[in-house]
């Protein structure tokens, strides 16, 4: 049994992140833990693996015991042999160049003989349905594939307890359903599993218990009524105009020799909220970058209003289009939250009092007003994402392009971002949101564009696209999953 008693932890010695936590996990048990961003979930995971207080510094009290042994009497590697942690970002956890080397990394350190290791690598990859990845190069994998390789590499260490920190964040719909099945399989293998998640639905069938961590304390979880405070009333108050806000005609794009977007034609009208969906690697991010004029198409034409993107300057495009990328750290430039928020107004010479006033209100709405003099890089992941949204849309451009904005967001964050999107559509702009979030697409979007291998497969009202996806053998996108 993995047991934590009276655990209190603070990074700075002043603000406690965990407050007197008691937690037990039996072998063969699956426990889900949810809670708002910044509530201490990842910190708890690091404590349960012994990284706190051994590697991560802070003020810590409480006892961790593993199968009856006090963790204080064990070395970090002795704990690591029993408890493994899969962290949030799979990209940062891969340290070798090929998948089989990566899965073998742990066993190699534990001096497992090569012949045993070969079997271990094969069985670990097979247990997560990824045997076909064995010979691949790690840096060429998609986000979902990387996530699976990281889980396999932890399983190859043969731990008794496995902790997964937001494992669904880089997975597509198919990957999330597979992960739910993997959790059930791990349970059969008598592994104790803790899965930290914002989106509980796909994992509930495998779970024995669900706990909620809030303000550093654990509570039994109670099902919420709605994640974003109910759907917004009307998809488009304004009648959709025939003149497109933005359009693409027969657009194709390739990275080196690899085609990513194939002859896509679509128009975006005022008042629309478009969900851009598709499996990992289907070209969603590339399509957004093309619309923002950040990549030049190999063929075809992209227009903003009546003007070709090619003929517009970067600043002209920036005035009309806001883009939020996936990694929050790649799009923060200034030294304080408020300067970061006002940077675009500065650069574009739009320092009107109305926009500056609005920006303060938006920061408040995002729950970031109290941090306005803080260094933005010191914010939590979820807070940085909200700041990214605030600072990208500060000048009220017509078109918002958001790439997976809901990753790592708790209810409050999701509500803020959804409201921002809804407000833009209601006031005559449009939004394109690349997302794996089925409920968002079903409840809040007026249109769903589905990409497959860079081609536009379906385009229409969400319910009809979901229906057609189900009919064409993609049960992972069925609306039944959304309802459940």
């Amino acid at each position: 049994m993995l047991e934590a008693r009276h655990v209190t932890f603070s990074y700075d010695g002043i603000q406690p992140v965990l407050r007197s936590i008691d937690l037990t996990l039996q072998r063969g048990e699956t426990l889900l833990i949810t809670g708002p961003t910044g509530s201490g979930k990842s910190t708890l995971a690091k404590f349960l693996c012994g990284f706190i207080p051994r590697i991560v510094r802070g003020e810590c009290s409480g006892v961790l015991s593993i199968d009856g042994d006090d963790a204080d009497s064990l070395t970090l590697t002795e704990i690591a042999r029993k408890v493994s942690l899969v962290q949030q970002d799979p990209e940062s956890q891969i340290c070798t160049l090929t998948v089989s080397d990566e899965v073998a990394f742990g066993p190699e350190n534990y001096l497992i003989k090569p012949e045993v290791m070969t079997r271990l690598v094969d069985s670990s990859l097979a247990s997560i349905g990824s045997s076909h990845l064995a010979g691949r190069l790690t840096y060429a994998l998609s986000g979902g594939e990387k996530q699976r390789v990281v889980i396999a590499s932890m399983l190859a260490c043969q731990p008794d307890y496995l902790i997964l920190d937001e494992p669904s964040s880089s997975l597509d719909q198919k990957g999330i359903l597979q992960l739910g099945q993997i959790l059930s399989e791990l349970k059969k293998k008598n592994l104790g599993v803790i899965c930290i998640e914002h989106h509980l639905e796909p994992f509930l069938p495998a779970a024995d218990r669900v706990l909620s961590l809030s303000e550093g304390r654990l509570f039994p979880w109670a099902q919420d009524v709605g994640r974003r405070g109910g759907p917004f009333q009307n998809h488009s108050v304004l009648p959709i105009e025939t003149d497109a806000l933005a359009s693409m005609k027969n657009v194709s794009f390739a990275y080196a020799d690899r085609p990513v977007i194939r002859r896509v034609t679509m128009a975006i009208h005022r008042g629309e909220v478009i969900a851009l969906m598709g499996d990992n690697g289907s070209g969603k991010t590339t399509l957004l970058c093309l619309l923002d004029g950040l990549l030049n198409p190999l063929e075809g034409e992209i227009c903003l209003g009546a003007n070709s993107v090619k003929r517009l300057s970067k600043k002209d495009i920036a005035k009309k289009v806001a883009m939020v990328f996936q990694n929050p750290n790649n799009q923060i430039f200034e030294r304080t939250v408020s300067r970061e928020q006002l940077l675009t107004l500065d650069v574009l010479g739009l320092k009107e009092s109305r926009l500056t006033e609005n920006s303060g209100a938006r920061l408040d709405e995002a729950g970031l007003a109290e941090f306005k003099d803080r260094n933005p890089f010191a914010l939590s992941h979820g807070q940085k994402r909200r700041l990214n949204v605030c600072s990208a849309v500060v000048h009220d451009p017509d078109l918002y392009l958001f790439d997976e904005p809901f990753i790592g967001q708790d209810e409050r964050g999701q509500r803020f971002i959804t409201n921002t999107i809804a407000e833009r559509a209601r006031t005559g702009g449009a939004c394109v949101v690349a997302t794996h979030d089925l409920p968002f697409a079903a409840e809040y979007c007026s249109r769903l564009v589905f990409l497959e291998n860079g081609s536009l497969l379906f385009d229409g009202r969400p319910e009809s696209v979901f229906h057609r996806l189900e009919q064409t053998g993609r049960p992972e996108y069925s609306l039944g999953k959304v309802a459940s």
């Binding site: 990209e91 940062s92 070798t96 990394f105 750290n329």
Partner: protein, 252 residues
Amino acid sequence: MKLCALVSIAVATIVYPSWRLSAIVLLSILVCFRLSHVPLRLTKGRMKFILTFAALMLLLQIIVIENGSILFYLLPQIGSLGPFFPVTDFGIERGLDIVVRFLLIIFSSILFVSITDPTLLAYSLVRIGIPYRYAFSLVLALRFLPLFDSENNIVRMAQQSRGISLEVGSIHKILRSVRYTFFPLLVSALSRVDSLSLSMTGRGFGYSDKRTYLRITHWSPSDWAILAISVIFTIFCFILALGLLPQVSRFL
């Protein structure tokens, strides 16, 4: 073995600067490219740059060096002007010396990188006594280089999408441009270092002074043969350089 051969070629070409000998080795390297099915794309960007650079170096040497017997002038005498830029046999020889050796080192390195699995190279370094913690940093560097390259692109795109253009008008603007690019990359890299170190420690990196390996290189008789040839070649070049074999060095 491949590393030994590469080092041997590099040392030998530096010790005995002869374009004839280097050309012979360069030809055999090009044959090796064909044998190992590594495509030599002479017209593609990087290769084009290397070849143009080599041609410029040759031209520069020919123009600058005026010693030796004059073969012809680049700019012949026109009326009372000129002639300018004499081309001498010594100039051509020096130019070829430098260019052929430059190409030899570049091509042999490209061949080495193309046919060597860096992971196996790192593990081989461990076997010759380098602690695995240090050898592994080679693998880590290669693992994260493509990632930093793509992050750099994303940061640039994020700047463009916000309307930020990198300006170099004044020191203040240069500093701001550097900060806008450097900070996001640095913060992203540092956060990755944290999770990477937890991930590696969590899988027992440092558990023991030794490690086992899933894949290991085997030293075959042909490796011994190549090693022997490399050593003999290096010694041969040293002997030539010291002038101990005047009858051979006359031809090379």
